[in-house]
Symmetry: C2
Subunit: 274 residues, 2 copies
């Protein structure tokens, strides 16, 4: 029972039931095919997005059938779901390959409160395509969110973050003055935190409300994904060193390219592993 | 220019351009209607999800047109997008109302590393509908993720978290022994962290990889949303007090009901505001 860690494991334990991989059932057992397909899809998606298949090559259908105790049709259905998501490609006679993997960014880097690692996307590795840089009246919704009066001027700075010419996220910032004045006049060369630093704008805290959306046709076109594609949606507020909010941003991130890693510890000894 | 914070502000500053709300343009100005629609949609969605419209009532079309300097068609398009997302309802003669708002949960509570607030969903306010509780062979992908041998037994515990009988998330856990033995035999009454506590399973750290997906038809049926609806996807690993991983979970959360709040601070004084 203790084979080395490897994909395509052919270990087949003896089972009490018909399903090759079930060792014990506690009475509640959702063995329906739809559940099985979803579970396999989730496991394979995790490995694809995490770039954990050697050379990007997925196990063959027969191997997946044996490992998961599933029919060929169920395996094919799971692979079809991943293909529809644009995560894998299947070529007759060649096999199944991961098309791309997502980049995982530590949440503290995304907050701008820890130094980006050398390989991080936030280490000046993106460049902005600015869509809008204008001073507009602060809308009531944004005003309420920032705790500022509606109608005062704010800098709307909207851009697409590109990495190797591929769009990664679309961000619309509403920045209050006096910070807005510095941001308005400063060249925007890489990422938002670099812009803040270059403009001499200090900040004290950054908050995210993280959700998911699907891309409307226009957002999809900007991000280079099909309409209806999943988007990781981050609503961000940034406070100055005294806690006063000066920026509200709506960030729509390609879910097939970007994920956020967060870690909570109860044992301070484990902090170092983060 | 400093009106009190309120919705439906009618402040109309003087503008250099045709657009009622543009005060200054830096040359780059994405004033296309598609951009305008998306920006308005994002602002309104933020207020709907954050439950910030009094009585759930959105401003009227005319008010939104005046405030944002947009045509009636553009305002209607933004509202149509929110309606398609199931976030608002429009009734002739009555107006536009938020249908539901999302619950924001602090990421430290979601990690199980801070005590849930009294109003938190994670304060024993959900109950599980268990779909599967069986011992299966650990798949190669899960084994690699947990740093354990493929093929060893693990407890697959899958459930839908219900709040007031409404599904909120679907979670599939793969838990290793010896923890799995305690989890297998313990009544699962509210949430996962309560189960860990009830089963006497201590943990030291919890890590998330946060992404977005769209619901396949089966997942959609389980969550009570339309197929293709956005899902906040959390891949979780849980470590024991020594740092050894003993649980891998795939959590699919309704994006229309659940968002995660995270805060990063550079100024320790601002920690208290988190």
């Amino acid at each position: 029972m203790s084979a080395p860690v490897r994909f395509n494991s052919r270990v087949t334990p003896r089972t009490p039931a018909g399903n090759a991989r079930c060792l014990w059932s506690g009475g509640v057992r959702g063995a329906s095919r739809a559940h099985d397909v979803r579970r396999l899809r989730d496991l394979l998606r995790s490995a694809v997005q995490g770039d954990r298949f050697t050379g990007g090559q997925l196990p063959g259908e027969t191997e997946l059938m044996a490992e998961h105790g599933l029919s060929r049709a169920a395996v094919r259905e799971a692979l079809a779901l991943l293909r529809a998501e644009g995560l894998i490609e299947r070529t007759q006679g060649v096999g199944t390959h991961a098309v791309a993997h997502s980049v995982s960014t530590r949440i503290t880097e995304a907050h701008g409160t820890s130094s980006p690692s050398p390989t991080s996307l936030l280490n000046r590795r993106t460049r902005p395509r600015v869509l809008d840089r204008s001073v507009v009246a602060l809308s009531a919704v944004a005003a309420e969110r920032l705790g500022a009066p509606a109608g005062i001027p704010c800098l709307r700075l909207e851009y697409v973050a590109l990495h190797e010419e591929e769009p990664l996220w679309l961000a619309t910032n509403y920045a209050l003055f006096p910070e807005a004045e510095k941001l308005r006049d400063c060249p925007f060369v890489t990422d938002w935190y670099a812009l803040l630093a270059d403009a001499g704008v200090e900040f004290g805290a950054s908050e995210f409300v993280i959700g998911a959306e699907t891309a409307d046709p226009h957002t999809a076109a900007v991000l280079g994904v099909p309409a209806g594609a999943p988007v990781l949606a981050i609503e961000q507020t940034i406070a100055d060193v005294s806690g006063r909010l000066f920026d509200l941003a709506f960030v729509q991130t390609r879910a097939d390219r970007f994920r956020i890693v967060s870690r909570g510890t109860r044992n301070p000894m484990l902090e170092e592993l983060a």
